[in-house]
């Protein structure tokens, strides 16, 4: 493999990861505020179908992307209403929406099956795209991929470097304390869930108008990405930068399974394509195992030096969910 084809391959990994990046960022925002949006798998499919349908009928890519965001925001609104206002199980509502939106996308999308529609073209940035290596990797992408780079940066800055971001962490960790500090916890939760939902909804058109252009119904292979994005959000420890890294890692693994296919001929190609999933569980295990009680007990029984090493190792990987995740907040 020449250096040029390798670079183009890696650049395509960044493009392929873009929808997952959006979904992970959206879910991270929502969960940071204390609301699990489990509907992601259905939301992505419905916004992919809706975004494609709108772009096809209006011949406007921008309207397609906006439609996807609107669908994501509306689904998130249902999650928020049931989970916050009605204090019902967010997991239950999200799961039902995940299935319902998926089936709705197949039902409403059948007239759009396999139609040729508009799609994003790459938009090399003048001057920057000529930089060796980095230019090919980062600056010959399409507009939505640039947007995803900016979104990662902004979400990270918002959560860790701004005052409202600090409040966001507060309403997810200790809503009662945030309330005493003057935060309207439930209103903020609504806002973050809906904004997060819009970001998740952006993932759909990024598939259907970009990475995997068109709407192919059940055979589009989009079913499952929402669940992956959910796992990556945890892998990322509710940190947008680490979450984005997880998305790129996942896309890289999928790309590698394609590239290595001719080499590993004894393994059926269908198996290689799903190979990243078991790896995902393994990483989930590594991220979570530090939270288990028996690990702490085992560590305590270890001699000083070994304990220090393992504690450091576990702490580096470990991630704990926001303390009030999924718990409704009531004023009294």
């Amino acid at each position: 493999m020449t250096q040029e084809t390798l670079l183009i391959g890696l650049a395509s990994v960044l493009t392929a990861a873009t929808p997952i990046v959006f979904a992970v960022l959206g879910e991270t925002l929502s969960e940071r505020a204390g609301v699990i949006n489990l509907s992601m798998n259905g939301t992505i499919l419905l916004s992919a179908m809706g975004g494609f349908a709108v772009a096809y009928n209006t011949n406007s890519l921008i309207l397609g992307f906006l439609a996807g965001m609107l669908i994501g925001a509306l689904v998130a609104l249902i999650v928020a209403f049931a989970g916050i206002t009605l204090a019902q199980s967010q997991v239950a509502v999200g799961f039902v929406l995940a299935l319902t939106c998926r089936d709705l996308s197949y039902f409403l999308g059948s007239p759009y099956m396999s139609l040729p529609g508009p799609r994003l073209s790459s938009l090399p940035i003048p001057f920057l795209s000529d930089i060796p290596i980095l230019g090919t990797l980062f600056f010959r992408q399409d507009a939505i991929t640039y947007l995803s780079f900016i979104a990662i940066l902004l979400t990270w800055l918002w959560i860790y470097r701004t005052r409202p971001g600090l409040m966001l962490q507060g309403i997810g960790e200790k809503p009662a304390a945030a309330f005493i500090r003057g935060a309207n916890v439930n209103l903020l939760r609504y806002i973050y869930t809906i904004v997060g939902g819009a970001l998740i909804g952006l993932a759909g058109p990024t598939f259907s108008l970009g990475v995997r252009a068109g709407w192919m119904g059940t055979i589009s292979g989009l079913d499952g990405f929402g669940w992956i994005a959910l796992a990556i959000t945890i892998f990322g420890g509710w940190n947008p930068a680490r979450g984005a890294f997880g998305a790129y890692l996942f896309a890289l693994l999928q790309w590698l399974s394609l590239v290595l296919q001719p080499v590993l001929t004894q393994i059926p190609s269908q198996v290689l394509q799903v190979a990243p999933f078991p790896l995902m569980i393994l990483t989930l295990l590594l991220v979570n195992i530090g939270n288990a009680e028996w690990v702490e007990r085992t560590l305590a029984a270890m001699p000083e030096s070994t304990r220090k090493f393992f504690t450091k190792l576990l702490r580096a990987m470990r991630a704990s969910p926001p303390a009030a995740l999924g718990v409704p907040f009531e004023r009294d």
Binding site: L38, I78, F81, A82, T85, L86, A87, Q88, S89, V91, A92, V93, F95, V96, L97, L99, T100, C101, R102, D103, L104, Y106, F107, L108, S110, P111, G217, G224, W227, L230, A231, I234, I267, P268, Q270, V271, V274, A275, F277, P278, M280, I281, L284, L285, N288, I289, G290, N291, A292, W294, V295
Partner: protein, 347 residues
């Protein structure tokens, strides 16, 4: 004051009407007649003995999976990995058949061993999710989802790898098993009475475990308040694992029945989404096992009835999923509103 129990029934009917209303609007939006769609689904599900038998074929795995999920839900667990547990049950069942393919043992015995193996396969796969939860700190939803993907990978690997069809491997599955390895079916119909009996026994057993045993009581205590149950001296993590074990066993049983009574081979989509659908049924009946039979039958009828839609009306059959989903969604929403309403009345 409005009777609280009856208000529940009234609100459920409101939920049903709301979901029918929303689905009718969706149908109108694509230019189809809702009445025509509903009547086609009705005719396609209970319109003839053959159709009814098809509904029962779909009812059997759905009821078994729902029965299992009632156990994990009672223990406060969201066993979303049930889909993969069905798959592993099917794989274990096919595996046993392949071992005994040239054996001289009576086929009935081999079928029995195969179904038992299916239960063990499902139970072991569920235990994996349980171990990830209790010893790995991995939430059962995420561990389960991951294991579902792994089970799909495993199925595809077997179909395209070691168990591939002589000649060319394809998505149509492995080589069909000999006829002697099938559960007997009613003449001219696809439904096996044995399978139907197994499913009914399954749900009755679960009802009995949950409502008539000390074990069930402790399980519910763990589900209601994990910490309090622990302080009361119930070995909580063991009970979590037991519930995974039982649920996985019933899901694996469903998978084994899909092999011996329906498909007679391993196919890529052997679980057919019954695991996720079972979760919906369990939510809709508010985890009360007494309602499992009628609601599972209703959902199975919707699934089979919707097959008519693409044939007669050129509509996608996923409408049944939309109808089931909106129904569960509205039941949750309406229940939330009712609880809020009751709270206001009490203060």
């Amino acid at each position: 004051m409005l009777n609280i129990r009856w208000s529940g029934v009234v609100f459920q009917i409101v939920a049903l009407l709301l979901s029918l209303g929303v689905v009718s609007l969706i149908l109108l939006s694509v230019g189809a007649s809702p009445l025509e769609a509903y009547s086609n689904m009705l005719k396609g599900s209970v319109g003839s003995t053959r159709k009814l038998a098809e509904v029962l074929v779909s009812f059997v795995p759905l009821l078994l999976v729902t029965a299992g999920l009632l156990i994990t839900f009672s223990a406060g667990l969201w066993n979303i990995g049930v889909e993969g547990q069905i798959v592993l049950g099917a794989i274990a069942s096919v595996w046993v058949f392949r071992i005994f393919i040239d054996s001289t043992l009576p086929p009935t015995l081999i079928i029995f061993i195969s179904i038992m193996a299916g239960m063990v396969g499902g139970a072991l796969w569920a235990t994996l999710a349980g171990l990830l939860k209790t010893f790995g700190g991995v939430n059962e939803i995420f561990g389960g989802l991951g294991l579902n993907f792994v089970s799909t990978a495993l199925t595809l690997y077997l179909i395209f790898g070691p168990w591939k069809r002589a000649g060319v491997a394809s998505m149509s599955g492995t080589e069909p098993l000999p006829d002697s390895f099938s559960l007997a079916q009613l003449s001219g119909l696809r439904i096996s009475p044995t399978a139907l009996i197994i499913a009914i026994v399954g749900i009755v057993l679960v009802y009995f475990i949950l409502n008539g045993t000390y074990f069930g009581l402790k399980l519910k205590a763990v589900g209601k308040n994990f910490r309090a149950a622990y302080l009361l001296g119930i070995p909580t993590w063991q009970y979590s694992l037991y519930s995974f074990l039982i649920c996985g066993g019933l899901a694996g049983l469903a998978g084994a029945i899909q092999v011996t009574a329906v498909y007679h081979r391993l196919i890529p989509s052997i679980s057919s989404g019954y695991g996720y659908l079972g979760l919906m049924v369990a939510m809709l009946i508010n985890y009360q096992s007494i309602w499992a039979i009628p609601v599972a039958f209703f959902f199975a009828a919707l699934n089979i009835g919707s097959i008519q839609l693409p044939i007669v009306m050129k509509l996608d059959s996923s409408l049944s999923g939309v109808l089931q989903g909106t129904l569960v969604l509205f039941v949750i929403l309406v229940e939330g509103i009712r609880q809020k309403f009751l709270k206001k009345m009490m203060f």
